[in-house]
Assembly symmetry: none
Homo-oligomer: 201 residues x 4
């Protein structure tokens, strides 16, 4: 078995355990066991629990971003394109929900500053990816002149919270409903379409 094999196995096991338990509750023992290697092997490949966590997050998020970029087809009408974007993000979020939980929900506290920075960088790359998608729409005149980065932050927040809501109780709301809501909200906001701005008060 090659070096790469064990490293990959460890990363996969780490993603699984960190997602289930969170960083602090994850035990290196369990990761080793699930990877089918000895505990020392974890430390042979990653110098600490924090570094393993960091690698798990970074490599995972980059995989997701690559998939998003690969799945986008911009040669269709904007509305359809935009809906596809949302759909794609929702689908990947739900598919990688364990990783997503790590990246978006456990970044706040009690970790080495260095590692924290790595993870925030990974998060930022995802936000940038979303912002890039918006930029295309802005260039083509379909999206108005807003602070794209900030808007991307807001979108990711919605995505995160909505998807978690769905995951906590899948029966309460379907995946399609999530996509519809996001599309609707992002397209035209909350105000009644029939009510013209003139008498919006």
């Amino acid at each position: 078995m090659s070096k790469t094999d064990k490293r990959k196995k460890v990363l996969a096991a780490a993603a699984s355990v960190f997602s289930t338990r969170g960083f602090h509750q994850a035990r290196m023992d369990e990761i080793a066991e699930r990877a089918g290697v000895a505990k020392g092997t974890l430390y042979y490949n990653f110098s600490s629990k924090s570094k393993l966590f960091s690698a798990t997050v970074t490599e995972g998020i980059d995989e997701i971003i690559a998939k998003i970029r690969a799945q986008i087809d911009s040669d269709m009408p904007f509305a359809e394109h935009f809906r596809q974007l949302i759909q794609c993000n929702v689908t990947l979020y739900l598919q990688y929900s364990d990783l997503a939980r790590i990246v978006f929900n456990e970044v706040s506290s009690g970790m080495d500053d260095e590692i924290l920075a790595d993870i925030q960088t990974a998060r930022a790359r995802y936000v940038d990816c979303v912002a890039d998608q918006l930029k295309d729409g802005q260039r083509s005149g379909h999206i108005k002149d807003v602070n794209l980065r900030l808007t991307a932050v807001a979108i990711v927040g919605m995505l995160d919270n909505l998807c978690n809501h769905h995951l906590r109780d899948p029966s309460s709301v379907g995946r399609d409903e999530l996509v519809d809501l996001l599309f609707d909200l992002l397209s035209s906001g909350l105000t009644r379409e029939s009510k013209l701005p003139s008498n919006f008060d």
Copy 2:
């Protein structure tokens, strides 16, 4: 000193420590020290670390909800009212940012299921509070027919992510900008103003 006094002191200290360190990194020792009581006193008032955490979160979130409800003045034009709502939520989020971090970012993993349920209930109460605010707008015909609960979830997600973005680097984006973006996005979405809501005020 009455029982209630010490209990309150403990809760205040717990809020402070849990906020700073997060649940798993918070130490009962530090909470006791900051509360100025012996460690045993913590266990005299709360049966476990989890219960103390739960109480901290629950009582904190209820305090915030009460403040939001108290600050809303619905006797003004809707647009102004809506903006005030957003402003109020942003302000309170930033003010209680430590508590917010706990409630919205560390709920996911590695905690007793029972406690987790308590905290998710507290979260749900906040979401309900936001949904209630929307409901008023819907009743008065200013907000269109959307799934309010889901929309509230989305809004809270945006709020959370945007405020954290601001807190991580206050110089990158001002508080007012947050409010403006939220108001704009929620009012009319991302599509160009030329598309109808042109004279939206």
Copy 3:
């Protein structure tokens, strides 16, 4: 059982284990077991293995120094007094040989700098104690004008090496022989008595 009791028990067990195994080979488990307390109790009383070691050495060496000072009777002819001094140091060294081994032989490497400094300070106190003894002899005119501190260092070196030699193989040399050699060497050196210093070549 009072706090002091357990602390003392731990120190005694630590002295025993550190002496037998040396610092790096001593296991906290064994110290706890020998003290009849839980491992956590070690850390409740001493913040780390190093600190426990430091306390063991410091408190031990101070006990020895106190005994030396108590046993000296300076109201006798100098030669006798001097021999008594040597006898007293040899006796105490052999009696506290475990501690002595720690203080004089394991100070060199692989320890926290802070702790190392503590131990060197303890060593220095012992050297000072010997130097003080010499000073009296110098004041009374019996000891010539030499660098007392340096001489004390040399004497402690002899004492250490000779006593260890005796301890390694007690049958090869008796305790009295050690005292005699030290007395003879320190009194008049190695040169033949018949040869007066004047024509020493």
Copy 4:
């Protein structure tokens, strides 16, 4: 590269690392790295860490002894000869201070008995070397009738402690001062020269 080449490289690296860190703190990894060989090569040449340590010490001490024997010139007046002897030992001790630290200060505890015996044998060879030097002086009538082995033990003790004192704080005492003190002490002891042995009381 021949087997002997790598073996020598390993021994040199081992001396360097063991000296700096001491036996227990030295890591095989670091020795291998410093030797520029793989870790397995260490075990290919030496069956264990202890054996490697033993070989390092034994070969090192023999090198020193050979140098001492080579540097002695006995065709000069005794006093000068004796001073030269002391000077030579001090100089070599300081030059090989790392090895000396191992041999004289870390031999006591926490090592395999077998290895411990090897090292004590090496020490004994050094003591014998010093004793041999004294024997010449005794044969020529310059040194009085003392237990030479024991005296050599005492001298090595002084040498060790004084040199370490110098190494810990070179500014406090110069190398020449060490030699002078040793020469003076060994020649005529501590008593005032004016006081003849006859009325030494």
